[in-house]
Every structure is written in structure tokens, then in C-alpha cells.
Symmetry: C2
Subunit: 170 residues, 2 copies
């Protein structure tokens, strides 16, 4: 996609030594490129086939909500512990740099039958796998993952038994 | 606005005792209401007059990026410490329940001359004031605040010398 790569900056040793961080925030500073990307993401089969979207805190919200608007799909959020009110379901995960957990509002998850997961970046896949497990444990279907960036060397997609749609790879 | 109020749930004593938390996430689960709200927010004078948007972590991203798409305005983000790579500018703030700080990428902030601040909720105004100070310290203009919910009793808007546009009040 024209210009997309030039808008993604790499920061070495962020957030910790040995990590080459891909910063997608430049994309949202260019309305034309952002629109082109969101139109492509929204018209993807994974989004079309899902009843709703789940976007992952916090950069996933940026792409998820624009897709939600464009595709007219309901959106739920997966957030860090302590951030969501009401009854939640929770699961731990391991990422490139540390351990954490994600939660989803139980009542919201029960409303829809199938979900597309949206995030900004696929690295090892730990975060996304965590969200997929939360969806499956609730008896709901994961249609696939839609992500802006995929880091091919880390082979995160090998963890999943659902399609992965990425729009730029490194 | 039709249905908007019914989609905002109140959770008492969240995230801590004495706080009546307004959960805006129900809005994004109803694509028609979400679209109607985003169209109204995007066509607001504060958004139209600003060169760019700054949305505040993390629920602010949800409304900010949809407005950014709809209004074709560049978006920057204000985030908690340690979340943004590269050179940042930072300021402390006090909110209803605790102390924290927010940061913005310096290079991004320098790109545009005037900003509309976007968040989900105006309470005491501490967070928004912090972002406004970061913008002003960088010699840029704050055009105003666009927020979904305003808690009138806390009178957050008295802190600001710029217009506040809220779409539902409690």
C-alpha cells in the first residue's frame, strides 16, 4: 500500500532492550492513507463474515473503532485488568516483553456469536491468542484476525487456527 | 440524542469507592447510534476549526479515530508514561481517583498548529487540562474539547478557557 511503510517508524530498544518497536501512529496523522487503510481493512472477508469486532487495548482501539464505523459492525474491547466495569472474563498471556492479562465484559461478549479480532500489530501472537481463547471459552466463534502490521520472523500466525489478514509485513 | 443515554451504564464504586463510573462502551455496540454520534461530533465547529485531533488514552482513542476518519483530520494521541516511543513531552495531572501523567510525541505535536481534544468523558477536567497544557507549552492552539459525556456536577469546564462540546450530560 502506497506510503504505508514510510509512515511506520522503527524505534530500537523500545519499550525494552532488544525490541525493535514499530510505531503505527504516523498512519493516523495522514488522513488519506488512514482512510485507504480503513477501507481495505473494513472490506476484508474476516470483518464482513464476523457479527462483531473485538479490538485490543490500546492501539487496537484506533483501528477497531474506525473499522466499526466504516463496516457498521458492533465493537467490543479487550482491556488490561481493572479497566472494565461489571462482570468480566479474564485470561493471562505472555508477550515479547513480559506477562499480563486481558479481560472482556461478559455480558457484551454474550450478545454476538462471531468475532473478528482487530489489533495494530501481530508479533508473537500472545495477546491475540489470549483474546481468541476468551472468545472460544465463551462458546463464540473467532472468524479471524485483522492487523495492520505483521512481524513475519516471529511467526505469530502459527499459533492460530483462523485466518490472519495483515496489510504490511516486516 | 435518541438511545444514547440508554446505552450508557452506570457502575457504582468503580474503579474505587465513591465513584459512579459511566461506561460509554455500550454505544460502540450499536452501529446506528455510534454512527449518528460520530457524525455529530465530526461536524462540530471545534473539530472543523482544528487542524488536528488529540485523543486521550484509552477510551478517547475509540471516539477520536472514528472522528479522524469521518472528518479527515490527522490524529495524535496522549498516552500514559512509557507507552510512546521517541522524544516526548510530559506533564502530571490529578484526576478523580489518583495522580498520573500524560505524554505526547514531540515531533508529531510540532506538525500541526491547532488541536481539538477528544475524550469519552469530562469529569473534573484534570486529564484534559493536562493535555491542553502540553499543547499550549508547545506554542500550539487548543481549539476546544469534544467529549461524549459531561458530568455537570464536577464543573470540569470551569478549568478551561476554550469551548466544551458534550453530547450527553449527567
Amino acid at each position: 500500500m502506497k506510503n504505508l511503510e514510510s509512515l511506520i517508524k522503527t524505534y530500537n530498544d523500545f519499550p525494552q532492550k532488544g525490541i525493535a518497536f514499530k510505531d503505527v501512529l504516523g498512519i493516523i496523522q495522514d488522513p488519506e492513507v488512514f482512510r485507504e487503510l480503513i477501507l481495505k481493512m473494513s472490506s476484508n472477508k474476516v470483518i464482513k463474515d464476523a457479527e462483531a469486532i473485538i479490538s485490543i487495548e490500546a492501539r487496537g482501539f484506533i483501528f477497531g473503532s474506525a473499522i466499526s464505523l466504516q463496516a457498521s459492525k458492533p465493537m467490543l474491547v479487550a482491556r488490561k485488568p481493572g479497566k472494565l466495569p461489571g462482570e468480566i472474563i479474564k485470561e493471562n498471556y505472555y508477550l515479547e516483553y513480559g506477562k499480563s492479562s486481558l479481560s472482556i465484559q461478559k455480558e457484551s461478549l454474550e450478545k454476538f456469536n462471531s468475532y473478528a479480532i482487530v489489533d495494530d500489530l501481530l508479533a508473537t501472537g500472545g495477546t491475540i491468542n489470549c483474546v481468541a481463547n476468551l472468545i472460544k471459552k465463551s462458546g463464540k466463534d473467532v472468524i479471524g484476525l485483522v492487523t495492520v502490521v505483521e512481524l513475519l520472523k516471529l511467526n505469530g500466525r502459527s499459533k492460530f487456527n483462523f485466518p490472519v489478514e495483515s496489510f504490511i509485513t516486516f
